[in-house]
Assembly symmetry: C2
Homo-oligomer: 332 residues x 2
């Protein structure tokens, strides 16, 4: 088994203070590995980085069209949003349109990461609820599919038709049988795959073959993510800022415990990476580095530099340190 490689370094003064190891794979749409670092067969949970795969049955089943979902709904179904009003307002309308309420969610409450939304809750003396959960858009998709299927209310159980459909799509796209599953932060099952399997799935999203329902669903989801970067994450977040920096040409998605995926339609490539220690700052730096290396992100774009180089400032604004891609990984 190949070991993970140093990917991202944190420097303070002239000392390497911290270091992140990881695995990364770039695949083409035939499923072949174009380039790999670390152990390309490492089995991981993609966590939220595979939401676009989990959303495939929503379209393929006919549920999305039956309920008139727009590209905004589809972007939200692939989102890890930060509970800003632009996210929660849309999810609330979606629920209303389904004739459902927040109590039909099974994702659990979460404090919004969006500063304004959080402070509005505090001022109103309200607690965060399930609609603020960063996965409430994904669960909006699950509930839509569930209504279409007419299945039971406990849609996050692993043997529920909604999750069985998500797993089938996931395995078909990764080209692997998933060996493990874990309960995600939003209580839905998350299925394991190798880093290569995840990159392969992203390449197939990037360049779907044929014109069947899978190809159409893939294209619609990727187009929705690229059209609405602000819905996929939110202001200040890596997914939103980097997708904007690439002028909507590429769709990217973060996952908990430092997973990142990228879908490059023009190149017909998919990317997946996992930082071993789960450090999000490193996953963000690493995906930015890969996107620069493959020519879709300008190294000098401020949003690219922010993720790849820092700077790290003290709380009074002094320059304290910097981020750097490890030369073992990428030399730009």
């Amino acid at each position: 088994m190949t070991q993970p490689i140093p990917m991202v370094e944190i420097w303070r003064g002239d000392l390497l203070e911290s270091q992140h190891l990881g695995h990364a794979v770039v695949c083409d749409a035939s499923g072949n590995v174009v380039e790999a670092w670390g152990d390309d067969e490492k089995v991981i949970y993609p966590r939220s980085s595979c939401k676009m795969l989990q959303a495939l049955p929503l379209i393929e089943s006919g549920a999305a069209d039956a309920f008139g979902l727009t590209s905004e709904h589809l972007a939200l179904s692939c989102a890890s949003h930060q509970g800003a009003a632009i996210h929660t307002d849309r999810v609330q309308v979606w629920l209303n349109d389904l004739g459902l309420s927040v109590s039909d969610f099974r994702c659990g409450p979460q404090r919004p990461d969006d500063k304004e939304a959080h402070e509005a809750l505090v001022r109103a003396g309200k607690n965060p609820c399930q609609i603020h959960n960063n996965c409430s858009g994904k669960h909006g998709g699950f509930l839509t599919l569930n209504k279409h299927l007419g299945a039971g209310s406990e849609y996050v159980e692993v043997d529920h038709p909604v999750q069985r459909a998500a797993k089938a799509a996931f395995e078909e796209m990764t080209g692997e049988r998933s060996e493990f599953y874990g309960i995600d932060g939003c209580s839905a099952p998350n299925f394991s795959t190798s880093v290569t399997g995840l990159a392969r799935a992203m390449a197939r999203m990037a360049k779907p073959s044929g014109s069947d329902s899978r190809a159409q669903a893939s294209t619609r989801l990727v187009d929705a993510m690229r059209a609405h970067p602000e819905l996929v994450a939110g202001e200040g977040r890596a997914c939103t800022e980097l997708m904007r920096a690439m002028d909507g040409k590429v769709a990217i998605k973060t996952g908990a415990e430092a997973v990142f995926t990228a879908i490059l339609p023009e190149q017909g490539l998919g990317m997946a990476l996992k930082i071993v220690d789960g450090g999000t700052r490193a996953a963000e730096a690493a995906i930015a580095g890969l996107l620069v290396k493959y020519g879709v992100l300008d190294e000098n774009h401020p949003m690219a530099r922010k993720r790849m180089y820092g700077p790290i400032l003290s709380r009074s604004g002094l320059h304290a340190g910097r981020i750097r891609l490890s030369p073992d990984f990428i030399q730009l």
Copy 2:
């Protein structure tokens, strides 16, 4: 150079999802290494885990007594507090007693981690200020020493008498010449040492030799930390909870980028550890494991279990995963 070893594992379902590597050293008061994992000569920044060393000149100079500092002041001077009212109220009185104001601080503003304090600020429409900085107690100590010395206002500059005194004490206690320094989050310089040097300094704090001013200052600072665990960090925090779980017998201190130190007076031992990737959850699990291994923390105390084992829950409260000490590190 010895490589870091696996120290802490994050499991989700039956899959090892993430893993943290680290270095750790236990020293006795003679400065000898009792036990070590990874590279005991690894050079690190202790960050806030060495605040008790930075506070030595405050006492040794006579400043603490000249300004009538109590054990609460001394605990705050070693603290990374979370900006709760019990912290900021005391620091404000301290500043008043010095005839100084918040604008004399050079630590920069920081949003309180304490939920109640943060929400009170939001409701009042106020921004966090420098007194909420987790290091405002340390800076209270710096300002007290500075007033005693009659030196200039820019007390965080590396060649300022306050920082020169801190560096001298640090090097004497670690027994090493510090090669690097970095700007800490609070803008004060933070000096490098090896993991062994840091553990050695903690052992010397645990069992000071002789009855000179260094020995007295060490004992007063360690006693203050042990007497006021709630001032050293705050409710819900690892330092506070684990010190309470050990009935005040041991002083422990976290540092940014996943450093942890422990001072064991009864055993005459000092501990220091660094997680390579800067993941705080792993530093907390690892120090708890070391304290259990050395017989000062009950493995079954709920606060020990919380750090060493989790559980990791989904946002709706389902059991999703667990933390585990790597068997390469400690088998309990």
